[in-house]
């Protein structure tokens, strides 16, 4: 064993020198260095490009997350030339060839958002910093989508939002690097209101139960504004925490409020539980003010209908897409998803599949993965063949505009997937709004950030 001659003075000297040496590289800011390589963050290397799929794998939206992940895997398979190509064959843009994106093989990493803003940002961050993801997509909650969108803007990668329905995502929290294919709360309300008027008349009093976060707030605001415009009154607006699983204590007061319509601004597991509680309390068999008591669920999905079982029969709501649509795009998607997994896709699966294809297509058309060029390729992009009819990515707020479906819980389902029936396809013109509409005002896109 060698005996080193440690002195205090010597230690301080070497310690100081070592720490100065180690701290040295931080003096050069990374921008210059990274930019010298590619001009943007996480450029593909070795012929592969990495996408980050950030979906809830636990928590109240775990079902949606699992379905999103299936759709992502399918999309990656199709992009790399596997499977039957799905909607790539019906997509109006023919830039994609099945040879990956720009010749790079597509691979992916996944993260769990846990439907918590903190956890979602941390997992997105690790996908960007550790795994080199050039695009982040997914999520099944607007709170998460807004948080992750903000993070992607700072980090300089593209964010293709998954299932997020809050007005804020492309309203006051919109970001230059963020894009949303899904519809939003305003569109739901605009599509649903005329149908409700026809069904339930203009003399109604609504009671709102609302999930207490960004989406719930804007959904409540939108639907209340739309129904009040046609003469309905609003009895009460009650906020329920997202983590609530038993809504009995929220349902009981509805009985004595004098309201004759219950609006459930809930999604996923929340809606399954609150609707079940409401039915158990006998709300649907009640008569108030001489009218049948009604329940409305502004945002509907098949997964929720499945969770709530027979309770959804005859209940109205809106949805972004449904597998029973008969256009070529929807049929192609349902076919390839069904072949791979044995059951039809949900609207969450559809929207994230579209987002992945739209991103890949934009890269292909732009000729690069640089977020600024990709954003430019997506802005104002008009396309068709992805299951929603003619659709446009509006340049002003990065929101897709397309037709909205009003659906109803089917009275006599033929099988376990046949739970919703389409009542009306509301045309795009009826749900469109100006970018500076008061419900969306207060934000700005800012400049696109390539991260280098």
């Amino acid at each position: 064993m060698t005996k080193s001659n440690l002195t205090r003075r010597g230690l301080i000297k070497t310690g100081a020198a070592a720490s100065a040496g180690l701290a040295m590289p931080t003096l050069f800011t990374g921008n210059v260095w990274a930019a010298a390589h590619s001009g943007y963050r996480n450029a593909p290397t070795n012929g592969t490009v990495t996408l980050g799929f950030n979906v809830p794998q636990s928590g109240p939206y775990a079902d949606e997350g699992a379905d999103e992940l299936r759709a992502y895997e399918l999309a990656v398979e199709h992009l790399n030339g596997g499977g039957d190509g799905g909607m790539m064959n019906t997509f109006s843009s023919s830039a994609l060839t099945g040879a990956g994106i720009l010749g790079n093989k597509v691979q992916f990493v996944t993260g769990d958002t846990q439907t918590k803003s903190d956890a979602a940002r941390a997992s997105a961050k690790s996908m960007i910093e550790k795994d080199g993801a050039v695009m982040i997509t997914g999520g099944s909650s607007s709170g998460v989508a807004i948080a992750v969108q903000g993070m992607c803007q700072e980090a300089g990668v593209i964010f293709m939002a998954g299932l997020t329905h809050s007005n804020d995502t492309t309203g006051k929290d919109k970001k230059a690097n963020g894009f949303r294919h899904f519809f939003n709360a305003y569109m739901s309300a605009a599509a649903l209101a005329p149908v409700l008027k026809k069904l339930y008349g203009t003399d109604r009093t609504a009671y709102h139960l609302t999930a207490d976060y960004s989406w719930g707030w804007t959904q409540e605001e939108s639907i209340a504004a739309a129904t009040e415009a046609m003469g309905w009154k609003t009895a009460e607006k009650v906020r329920t925490p997202l983590a609530t699983t038993d809504f009995s204590s929220y349902i009981a007061p509805v009985l004595n409020s004098g309201a004759d319509v219950l609006v459930l601004n809930h999604y996923g597991g929340n809606m399954v539980n609150s609707l079940t509680n409401a039915v158990q309390f006998g709300l649907r068999d009640k008569q108030v003010n001489g009218k049948n008591f009604e329940i409305v669920v502004p945002l509907y999905s098949r997964l929720m209908a499945k969770g709530a079982g027979a309770n959804v029969k005859g209940i109205f709501g809106s949805t972004n897409w449904h597998w029973s649509l008969t256009d070529a795009g929807s049929k192609a998607f349902v076919k390839s998803f069904g072949t791979k997994y044995g059951f039809p896709p949900s609207q969450a699966a559809h929207t994230v599949y579209c987002q992945t294809l739209l991103y890949a297509d934009a890269c292909q058309r732009a000729g690069t993965h640089n977020p600024c060029a990709v954003a430019e390729a997506l802005e104002g992009f008009k396309f068709d063949g992805l299951g929603n009819g003619p659709t446009e990515y509006r340049a002003e707020d990065h929101q897709c505009f397309k037709d909205v479906l009003v659906v109803k819980g089917k009275e006599n389902p033929e099988n376990e997937f046949d739970l919703l029936e389409i009542v009306e396809v509301t045309p795009r013109a009826q749900v469109e709004y100006a970018p500076d509409h008061p419900m969306f005002a207060g934000g700005e896109l800012g400049k696109c950030n390539p991260g280098a």
């Binding site: 205090r8 230690l11 931080t26 800011t29 990374g30 803003s117 550790k130 929290d173 207490d212």
Partner: protein, 400 residues
């Protein structure tokens, strides 16, 4: 040096060297190799280790020295984060106002909670702090929505005023213009080392926090806190009132938590209510005990171990496992993957639980004791004293 004796100076220098070399230590495997999966040397994780290290160091001042087990420290972490983000929104995206306010607010908050909770000791104290923290979480989650933005979390928006920032000021958190997110990548021999401004900022603060805690451990004040732990009644009978000491320790550890919360917001300018939840309070308790309560370095080791498990182990999903065990026959592969996948990916907490159980059972002094025993094996045994019974055992050096 700096009021420390020779042994402590050495100790501090070793800690400084380890902290500064973190980008190397946490990135031991070359890119593209099979083990690259286990690399943890990316900015977010390194900074988290430093930040939660600070959090645990502070917690240890209360728990390790006075023995008061607080189950509500996440509340101070949250208060720190919210204050920091508000500073970003109102004053400036420079990190210093944010961190200063975070520490002050957490200090005030812990003064109030500590004043109430410290009327009781033992299990009642723990329950009181737990209740207070859960209350704060509920308030932040829904009641104070205008202040905290509820579930969505408080974020910085381009429309925020930022009174002190000029028109050309950076749009993201910075240290006098140097962006927190900037990093330099050093590629050498297949390895990629990332040196990030934010990490080094957190690291420097962590070292200062560590130094302060070292001084507290060695001070007469620290001795008083230990007296509280060993026998509070005897202390009272001696004519000393323990309450001011415990309250001071509580506030100091609360300020450490606020500092950690502020730094979390610096690294990622968003404050969510979840970081105030009781699970987050429990996490710091586990960190401290896993690493070694009452030791100086233990809590930092515990924080590092847990954050590493959380971020790296949780990434080993079934697909990765199938890749690893592809050489096995299919039927055996499926069984192996099925069993292992319970402990990785989403099951990472199960691994943590097992590790925690083993440490508590076999190494009551935590990882620090494990390390000491390990190195003890290579040391020459000191000669047995002639009359072992009549020599008092030398108390162990607290730094070890």
């Amino acid at each position: 040096m700096l009021g420390l004796n020779k042994k402590d100076t050495m100790f501090l220098l070793i800690v400084i060297a380890l902290t500064m070399a973190t980008p190397f230590l946490m990135q031991p495997f070359s890119e593209g190799s099979a083990l690259a999966q286990f690399n943890g040397g990316y900015p977010d994780l390194m900074a988290k280790v430093a930040i939660f290290g600070i959090f645990a160091i502070g917690f240890n001042i209360l728990f390790g020295l006075t023995g008061y087990l607080s189950f509500g420290h996440a509340a101070f972490l949250g208060v720190g984060s919210y204050s920091a983000v508000w500073m970003f929104k109102i004053l400036s995206l420079n990190v210093f106002p944010a961190i200063i306010l975070a520490v002050i607010m957490a200090g005030l908050f812990s003064l109030v909670i500590g004043y109430i909770s410290l009327r009781r000791s033992g299990i009642y104290f723990s329950i009181l702090t737990l209740a207070m923290a859960e209350m704060s979480f509920r308030l932040a989650y829904s009641v104070f929505t205008p202040l905290t933005n509820g579930e969505t979390g408080l974020q910085v928006r381009p429309s925020d005023v930022q009174l002190l920032d000029g028109p050309n000021a950076p749009e993201y958190p910075n240290i006098f213009g140097l962006l927190i997110s900037d990093s330099y990548k050093w590629e050498v021999a297949g390895h990629v080392f990332t040196f990030n401004v934010g990490f080094y900022f957190c690291a420097v603060i962590a070292i200062i926090a560590f130094y302060i805690s070292l001084r507290i451990f060695r001070s007469p004040f620290g001795m008083m806190l230990r007296a509280v732990k060993s026998n509070q009644n005897r202390m009272s009978y001696t004519g000393l009132n323990p309450r001011p000491y415990t309250l001071a320790a509580f506030v100091i550890s609360g300020m450490y938590a606020g500092l950690a919360g502020g730094l979390l917001a610096v690294m990622d300018p968003l404050a969510g209510a979840e970081r105030m939840q009781w699970t987050a309070s429990g996490e710091v308790v586990i960190m401290t005990i896993l690493g070694g309560a009452g030791t100086l370095l233990g809590p930092v080791l515990g924080a590092g171990a847990i954050k590493y498990l959380e971020n790296i182990f949780s990434k080993i999903n079934e697909t990765v496992l199938h890749d690893w065990f592809a050489f096995l026959p299919d039927s055996i592969e499926d069984v192996v993957v099925f069993i292992l996948s319970r402990f990785t990916g989403h099951g990472w907490a199960l691994t943590l639980g097992l590790m925690f159980m083993l440490v508590v059972t076999f190494l009551p002094g935590g990882l620090v004791e494990g390390g000491k025993r390990f190195f003890g094996m290579f040391k020459r045994k000191p000669k047995e004293p002639d009359d072992a019974e009549h020599h008092p055992e030398t108390p162990p050096h607290v730094a070890e």
